[in-house]
């Protein structure tokens, strides 16, 4: 039953072929038996999960169930969970038990979903390989010596290994889409403000957005519906009702839909095999009735630079709260208050987090603020303007999700810039605040790759519809890693 998708499981539960308790018990056993090979989980909440499953089953008996009631999921450890560790992949939060639930946690609880545990991730979501976790790197089920991507690498590896049908992720520069691409999943970063950030540990507040990861676009839609909606506790939450993307939305006619291919994303630096996969995806969309249009996003090449000013600046401010006083790690025997701050933070944060805090401190410091931070914010506007112009000609934008498939564990740890460039195609949608998804596009040397669809503001339903209809005529997303046949 672990190989069934969310929508299939939902039907099985509804028809009474399966109980949530049986399903939950089965998946917990699967995690217990096999996660030692992947390290995808930081915390497994078996007791709470079984209790929640029992409750979901009784709701179903009372005819109070919805499509998600009793469906198990894995929660990225960036979302606060009352009474369960929320580590955010960091040593500094290794003992942090949140006094409250994140809004997303509450929403999924209210939908009757069953949390199996909390997924491993790059520390504070800073990373593209899941090698920056205090709890150890995560392995890619497709090839165990390769990274699963990051920062939502634990979520990605867990769904790919069929530990759960769906998981939550968060995406600041590609952290849902890049791991989805590296593990043959579908994942969507919604429009900025669509999903509440309340209780989602802050990295870069103007870029962070939570979203779902699953084995199909349809499953992402079902989960996103439950995660979306206005939240008075988040001042950047859009004043909109929750999404209700259903079958009719996913099957909206694609005839005449204009799909843009940005020429700046298809330069000589793009792996030729990757180019072939994306061009093949474009052909499939054409066969589905879409019109392919060449477009230009002239400031694309500046996105990584803008990101590595804006994100560290916001991070240095957000992470100032970890001081060893109110919660989190505190060093042993501090001699004075200054020593307590310095050593708690130095011992509690990993190398990448310290690097980004210092970069952020640099670009915000007097004398450099205008040259770096203010300038980056202006270029950010130019990048958003590029998209607004392009969307006068097209309805959605198609690109690769990543320049290459997954890389080997350890391969890029020595060179942070190489690591940052893995997010070259995903960063612009965060800077512009636009919805974007990644969906499976095929394989290169046995490793999955994804295509990215970027939509206009608030048009999650449209990009999900394109991906869904693509998945009706292709079977890339149905391919499973050998790991799942062995275990």
């Amino acid at each position: 039953m672990h190989d069934l998708s969310l929508s299939q499981l939902s039907l099985e539960l509804e028809q009474g072929h399966l109980s949530s308790y049986e399903l939950t018990e089965h998946l917990l056993k699967r995690i217990a038996a096999h996660d030692s090979q992947l390290n995808s989980m930081i915390t497994v909440t078996a007791t709470q999960a079984l209790a929640a499953a029992k409750q979901a089953d009784s709701l179903r008996k009372q005819n109070q169930a919805n499509a998600l009631t009793g469906i198990p999921y894995i929660h990225k450890d960036i979302f606060c969970t009352q009474d369960v560790l929320t580590s955010c992949g960091s040593k500094i939060l290794e003992n942090f038990i949140s006094p409250y639930d994140a809004t997303v946690t509450q929403q999924l609880k209210q939908a009757g979903m069953v949390m199996l545990g909390k997924a491993n991730m790059d520390e504070f979501a800073m990373g593209s390989s899941n090698e920056n976790s205090h709890y150890g790197p995560v392995k890619n089920p497709w090839q165990l010596d390769y990274v699963p991507g990051g920062s939502s690498g634990g979520s990605a590896a867990a769904i790919a290994a069929q530990f759960a049908p769906v998981a939550t992720g968060s995406d600041t520069g590609g952290s849902i889409r890049q791991p989805a691409a590296f593990t043959n999943l579908t994942g969507i970063k919604p429009s900025y403000g669509r999903v509440s950030r309340y209780g989602m540990v802050a990295f870069a507040s103007s870029l962070d957005q939570g979203g779902p990861m699953a084995r199909s676009a349809e499953d992402c839609a079902m989960m996103l519906n439950a995660m979306s909606g206005h939240d008075p506790l988040d001042s950047t939450s859009l004043p909109l009702a929750p999404l209700t993307i259903g079958k009719a939305d996913l099957h909206q006619p694609l005839k005449g839909l204009r799909v843009g291919l940005p020429k700046e994303y298809f330069t000589d630096s793009l792996n030729t095999e990757m180019r072939d996969r994306i061009e093949a995806a474009a052909k499939t969309l054409e066969a589905l009735g879409c019109d392919i249009v060449n477009i230009s996003l002239p400031h694309s090449h500046l996105a990584v630079s803008v990101y590595y000013v804006v994100a560290p600046a916001e991070a240095s401010s957000n992470l100032a709260r970890y001081d060893g006083v109110r919660y989190g790690y505190r060093c042993e025997n501090p001699v004075d208050l200054q020593d307590l701050y310095l050593r708690s933070r130095s011992e509690g944060f990993g190398v990448e987090v310290k690097r980004r805090i210092m970069v952020g401190t640099f670009v915000l410091s007097s004398g450099y603020y205008d040259a770096y931070y203010l300038q980056a914010q202006k270029v950010r506007q130019l990048i958003r303007n590029d998209f607004l112009d392009a969307f006068k000609q097209v309805d959605v934008i198609l690109s690769p999700t990543t320049p290459q498939p997954a890389f080997k564990l350890g391969e890029r740890m020595a060179d942070p810039i190489q690591m940052y460039l893995a997010d070259l195609y995903t960063i612009p949608a965060n800077l512009a605040g636009l919805p974007a998804l990644s969906a499976p596009a095929g394989f290169i040397n046995g490793l999955p790759v994804g295509f990215q669809l970027i939509g206009k503001d608030l048009e999650e339903a449209k990009i999900l519809a394109v991906a869904h209809q693509y998945q009706q005529v292709t079977n890339w997303h149905l391919q499973q890693p050998a790991f799942n046949t062995i275990v």
Binding site: T236, L342, M358, L374, V379
Partner: protein, 94 residues
């Protein structure tokens, strides 16, 4: 970027770095600064800085008390407390 600059940044960021770490960060942060330096060549005449993607969201809320007293819950995560307060090393020398 020199090690001395790393020590200044680390101090501002409340992070302690050893000599070896300073050297390591000087190299990698220099590379990042070199990368982002390309932004200076962009003509941004007349462009307003973009602080976040939402142009028209009202961030203010009514100034009403919404929380009840949660002192114990909030202190539960603190490394050290005393008499309902967060405990830190002595600040004023006796």
């Amino acid at each position: 970027m020199q090690c001395s600059e790393i020590f200044t940044l680390a101090k501002l960021a409340h992070i302690a770095v050893t000599d070896a770490e300073a050297e390591y960060f000087a190299t990698s942060i220099s590379k990042i600064v070199q990368l982002v330096h390309e932004l200076n060549a962009v003509d941004v005449t007349g462009v307003a800085p973009m602080t976040q993607p939402l142009a028209d969201v009202e961030a203010l809320r009514p100034d009403k008390v919404t929380e009840t007293n949660q002192v114990e819950t909030l202190l539960a995560n603190a490394p050290q407390t005393a008499a309902g307060l967060f405990l830190v090393p002595q600040v004023i020398e006796s």
